[in-house]
Assembly symmetry: C2
């Protein structure tokens, strides 16, 4: 498995994973019925960089990195990560998050912020905390979970 920068031609590999996670609607602020074209825009075109974790031509995971706020906020980046169902529990989220922190520092960012972590996503919250991210905000009922209704979303942050 290697983590490498993704190009536009990689989105065919990424799309099944993206679609599965968007359709579930439990973790990301995407429309559940987002089209492939719109997904490519938000995951690959708009971000500053996108990476793919690939093994034997399969996409096991992916992440993007972008500037979170322009101007006075441009020293803080934002990332999002996806791990395919059959690659979970093997440390890939940790590997991608550590990779993204190195990438961010190499690009000159001083901090990383996650804007919208579903508070119900226990595994992610625990992992980010273990990797040094603090919960710096709690948005009351800001996440409309498909099974649990309106739940809080968290803002998490790490000075790199």
């Amino acid at each position: 498995m290697r983590i490498r920068e993704a190009t536009a031609s990689d989105f065919d590999l990424i799309w099944p994973l993206f679609k599965e996670i968007a359709r579930a609607g439990e973790t990301y602020a995407f429309e559940p019925d987002i089209t492939k074209e719109a997904a490519e825009q938000v995951w690959l075109t708009i971000p500053r960089k996108t990476f793919i974790a690939e093994k034997d031509g399969q996409c096991l995971g992916t992440y993007y990195l972008k500037t979170n706020q322009a101007g006075p906020g441009k020293h803080v980046c934002n990332c999002g990560y996806m791990v395919s169902a059959h690659a979970r529990g093997k440390g890939l989220a940790t590997a991608m998050c550590e990779h993204s922190q190195q990438t961010a520092k190499a690009l000159g960012y001083k901090a990383m912020q996650f804007n919208y972590v579903a508070s119900t996503n226990d595994g992610a919250v625990r992992l980010w905390e273990k990797l040094g991210y603090d919960i710096v905000g709690r948005l009351p009922k800001a996440f409309n979970h498909p099974h649990k209704g309106f739940v809080d979303a968290l803002v998490m942050y790490k000075w790199l």
Copy 2:
């Protein structure tokens, strides 16, 4: 003075105010040297609605309203407000904020979130608190203030 919805042709009126506030770099996450075209994109084209507070053909203030996060977050909107220097201290920010809450509710939003309020912007923080917004997050050193250096940014939130 009346607050009315802005159209593309209004950006000539809005631009001097936008430019002054962006150039100062003390309150908004815009590049200080943002072009008029880019400013029109972020303030008028991308948002769901933009309003102008106009008197005798002059722009005294303006605000935008947009969905803050797609999908599971689409019940929460985000707004930004600008008041021209010679119209300050007359309740215009309050009037626009109350107008924006009415607009948001009419559009079906359940909450409003400010993602990035400079903690040094005391007047704004006090006003939003008075109008019922809570500080729900504090982003350490996320705002690079032109005179004060890295200061915290606040996340503020109101269930409508």
